[in-house]
Amino acid sequence: MSRFIDIAALADIPPQGARVVRTPQGCVAVFRTADDRVFALDDRCPHKGGPLSEGIVHGASVTCPLHNWVFDMATGQAQGADSGAVATHAVRVEGGRILLDASAIRRVA
């Protein structure tokens, strides 16, 4: 069951940029592409834990700032020779607001 939470305005994220949402499981990086698509991934590269939110966004991909792993933001899969994946979160934009699916984020019992 999905549970969308309003986290920010689209305008809070620069095009080809990202912002971070803190969650009990660690940070989620919310990306905005040049053509205003929005993606949400765990802000932690499976390689050495680099903050993906600080990577360069190009097309629908992001490059980790620490060692240049490239991830497809739609699937979370590492591209090219690297193998690995980062968890993705459903996200959508409604009326200029970004809604993040928080169902995968553990509710405190």
């Binding site: 920010a8 994220i13 080809q16 592409t33």
Partner: protein, 809 residues
């Protein structure tokens, strides 16, 4: 039976008309020729060479006395025509009347004289005829001063001619750039620069207020209060058709004498041609259409059908060394597009103006060889859409598609220049390859092609690939990244030549294969655009690596290190206190002294960055750019202030250099060292740029390294003063900024271009001055503290939302 033809005006148009007429209809016309000047037809276009002393009057005479005699022309030179009696078909000359069956008015144009105070003083001339030319020749003895009012074609030729004779010439031009009717601002700027190199002073946007003098001209006063001394004033602000006779005769006159396609005026027995006519609303000042008119009128008089169709005309400036070409219409307008090529180093500028699929105008400066080819395309109105990609490269590239650079290179003739720095043409390179040079280095060694600035390396490799075929081991210079087939050098060259001023423009026009590039090309493009267009381009933070985007160095755990600038490695107790306080306040886990003589605070959280920067700003400290492909540190020793061996104030010089260079973005990091004596305590000789002070001055050396590679610097120049040190280093850094590939440290770049070339650039006073100027210009934009800017918006640095609290509800 012969009929009587009277011609008023013995200029170039009527002269050419008479030649055609005598050729086509010999013996049909009995000609009387009036001329206000006491001489026959000469080539007015050649007055400029007469003025500059390259030719004499005798050499530019078109028709001499013998010619007129042979054709049976009755010459009435030096005699004014006082009136035309159209009823009786009689022309009244000052010395008597003459009947006509047909009359041709070819009175040409009169120079426009602005009725300024003093415009009638002796010493004010126009530039129209031999008398004016002789007056200017007389006035331009060495040391004399002359002012030319009007920076159009004629005015500049007058100025260059007088300057060639030794006069000190100033050109005053009302508009923002020279020859604004033929040139756009960029080409006008290049022209102005070349004229200034010849010692001609150019004052644009200058409105003349008065011509000063009592008995004769003494000076020119401008509206802004400037005065220029002048022994002679040449007014060259334009011409207007000379229509007084036609007006008096009651002929139809608009701006010029109105004529039909057959050159007939409103009176069927009277014709007109040349600069005095108006055809279809258009006036004519250049020679080509006048010659067409002459042909048509001769045919009309000979009884054959002909019609005048005005064609586009091209302009060339007859000033030696100023290579300029302009044709067609080059005004900007809706539906018009430009293709621009610029090579600022060589002063070359080419601009084509397209409307739809047609070329409608061309402006070229510095290299006008392809002018006639473009002119032909303009006149024919040919559809150029198929050749559009390579159109600006001229006939040599015609038909080649940009997507296949090899085809374009293959189409080049053997004499096409590949390497502009060393003047190496394609044929030379091919010969060297066929003689056994199989690698780029070998070709470079034999021909010097691409051995200087290196921007033609891609072209040289393409010639090699063509000549060697499969035998050529490609990838000696691989493409920039997988997003493009272009090399870094190609991209840098094309950004400048195509005037690409944004990352999307580069990706669009250079055919990027990906959307949005990648983490490799985007920062490179961002740098190239910053370096090449400091005024036009705005830094794109999202194309920066994390460190430059966040103005701090990211650490393995995602925290950052913060390094405030310590000018020349000198600090104060107050700064140290501020650093200590900040370390406590933000829980900095490690404080470390760096190799560049400053202090690093490691382990700062991202959201704390704006606050710590703000604290440092308040203590008077700015970003140390320890994260930047830019100026890092200037390491110094204590120099003469404390050291018993120091020969110069190395600390002071280091601080001065750091204050000069800080904030500038460069292809890779730049570190300097300044040592006060050859003991070299600042380790200056393993820096990107090092200065070692000696008794007699300063030894500047470059291209050191102490990282993955260890290199000793190599001497660049030795200079005597601190000012020169700053000039040479600013120029050298700018040269590096303009030419190097992104991420190449100075030593790698110098390996590629050769130290000799780099030294020659910064040693040449003109080139050095240009480099310094461009560096200063860039610094006016980029020498700012990024910490101060970002500290003002702390919210941007914090998480955009915190779901820990929500989840806990």
């Amino acid at each position: 039976m012969t009929r009587k033809l009277v011609v008023i005006g013995a200029g170039m148009a009527s002269g050419r008309m008479l030649e055609h007429l005598f050729d086509q209809a010999p013996g049909q016309w009995d000609v009387t020729l009036f001329n206000a000047e006491p001489r026959g037809n000469y080539n007015r276009l050649m007055l400029s060479p007469v003025l500059s002393g390259d030719k004499t009057y005798d050499q530019i005479v078109t028709h001499d006395t013998d010619w007129y005699a042979a054709q049976g022309v009755t010459c009435r030179f030096g005699e004014a025509v006082v009136g035309i009696d159209r009823e009786a078909q009689i022309v009244h000359g000052a010395r008597g009347p003459v009947e006509y069956d047909a009359l041709v008015i070819a009175t040409g144009s009169a120079p426009f004289i602005i009725p300024l105070p003093g415009h009638k003083l002796p010493g004010v001339v126009a530039y129209r005829d031999l008398e004016d030319t002789n007056a200017m020749i007389e006035a331009s003895r060495p040391g004399a001063t002359a002012v030319v009012i009007g920076g159009g074609l004629l005015g500049l030729e007058a100025a260059a001619g007088m300057a060639a004779r030794g006069a000190e010439v100033t050109v005053i031009h009302l508009m923002g750039h020279l020859m604004e009717r033929q040139l756009d601002p960029a080409a006008g700027y290049l022209l102005q620069r070349d004229l200034e190199k010849r010692g001609i002073r150019i004052h644009c946007k200058g409105a003349t207020k008065a011509i000063l003098g009592t008995d004769k001209v003494e000076a020119v006063l401008l509206e802004d209060g400037t005065t220029y001394p002048a022994d002679l004033v040449c007014m060259a602000v334009g011409i207007r058709p000379e229509t007084r006779l036609a007006n008096d005769a009651g002929l139809e006159v608009a701006r010029g004498i109105t004529v039909t396609d057959q050159m007939r005026t409103s009176d069927p027995a009277i014709f007109a041609l040349g600069e005095c006519v108006e055809h279809d609303g258009q006036l004519f000042g250049l020679v080509a259409p006048l010659y067409d008119q002459a042909k048509v009128l001769a045919a009309t008089l000979a009884g054959t059908d002909a019609a005048f169709m005005p064609l586009q005309t091209a302009t060339k400036l007859k000033v030696t060394g100023c290579d300029l070409f302009s044709a067609g219409d080059f005004a900007e307008g809706p539906g018009r597009e430009d293709i621009v090529f610029r090579d600022p180093g060589r002063g070359i500028y080419k601009r084509l103006i397209l409307e739809g699929d047609r070329l409608i105008g061309a402006v070229m400066y510095g290299d006008t060889a392809d002018g006639p080819w473009f002119f032909d395309k303009i006149r024919s109105g040919a559809d150029i859409s198929a050749d559009r990609d390579t159109l600006i490269f001229g006939p040599a590239f015609a038909g080649g598609a940009q997507s296949d650079p090899l085809a374009a290179v293959a189409a080049l003739p053997p004499e096409a220049e590949i390497c502009g720095c060393n003047g190496v043409c394609k044929g030379t390179i091919v010969t060297a390859i066929q003689g056994g040079a199989a690698t780029l280095d070998a070709v470079r060694g034999l021909t010097k092609a691409s051995a200087s600035c290196g921007t033609c390396t891609g072209l040289v490799e393409q010639v090699m690939a063509l000549t060697l075929g499969d035998g050529f081991a490609a990838n000696a210079n691989p493409p920039m990244c997988k997003c493009t087939d272009h090399t870094h050098e190609d991209v840098r060259r094309l950004i400048k030549s195509m005037g690409l001023k944004s990352i999307p423009a580069v990706m669009q026009d250079l055919g990027w294969k990906t959307v949005g590039g990648c983490a490799s090309c985007r920062p490179a493009l961002n740098y190239y655009l910053i370096a090449d267009w400091p005024l036009d381009y705005r830094d794109d933070r999202q194309s920066r690596f994390v460190n430059e985007r966040n103005h701090a160095n990211i650490q393995k755990d995602g925290t950052y290190s913060v390094v405030p600038r310590m000018w020349g490695g000198v600090t104060t107790s107050a700064e140290l206190r501020a650093i200590a306080d900040a370390a406590d306040r933000y829980g900095v886990p490690m404080i470390k002294v760096t190799g560049g003589q400053r202090i690093d605070l490691l382990g700062v959280r991202k959201e704390d960055l704006p606050a710590i920067w703000s604290d440092f700003n308040q203590a008077g400290m700015v970003s140390g750019h320890a994260y930047a492909k830019g100026l890092r540190t200037v390491k110094t020793c204590v120099g003469t202030d404390f050291c018993r061996f120091g020969t110069q104030d190395s600390t002071g010089l280091g601080i001065r250099l750091e204050k000069l260079l800080w904030g500038s973005w460069t292809p890779a990091k730049v570190k300097l060292g300044v040592s006060g004596c050859p003991r070299n305590c600042a380790e200056a000789t393993c820096k990107d740029i090092g200065v070692v002070c000696v008794d007699s001055g300063f030894q500047i050396s470059v291209a050191g390294a102490a990282g993955m590679d260890v290199r000793e610097t190599v001497p660049l120049l030795t200079v005597e003063t601190e000012d020169e040190v700053c000039d040479v280093i600013a120029a050298f850094v700018q040269l590096y900024r303009e030419h190097a590939r992104y991420l190449h440290r100075i030593y790698k770049w110098v390996d590629k271009v050769g130290l000799d070339w780099a030294r020659a650039q910064v040693a040449d006073p003109d080139i050095r001055a240009g480099l310094i100027e461009r560096f200063r210009l860039s610094q006016t934009i980029y020498q700012t503290d990024p910490w101060a800017e970002h500290a003002a918006r702390p919210d941007d640095w914090a998480p955009v939302a915190d779901l820990r609290l929500r989840a806990a509800e």
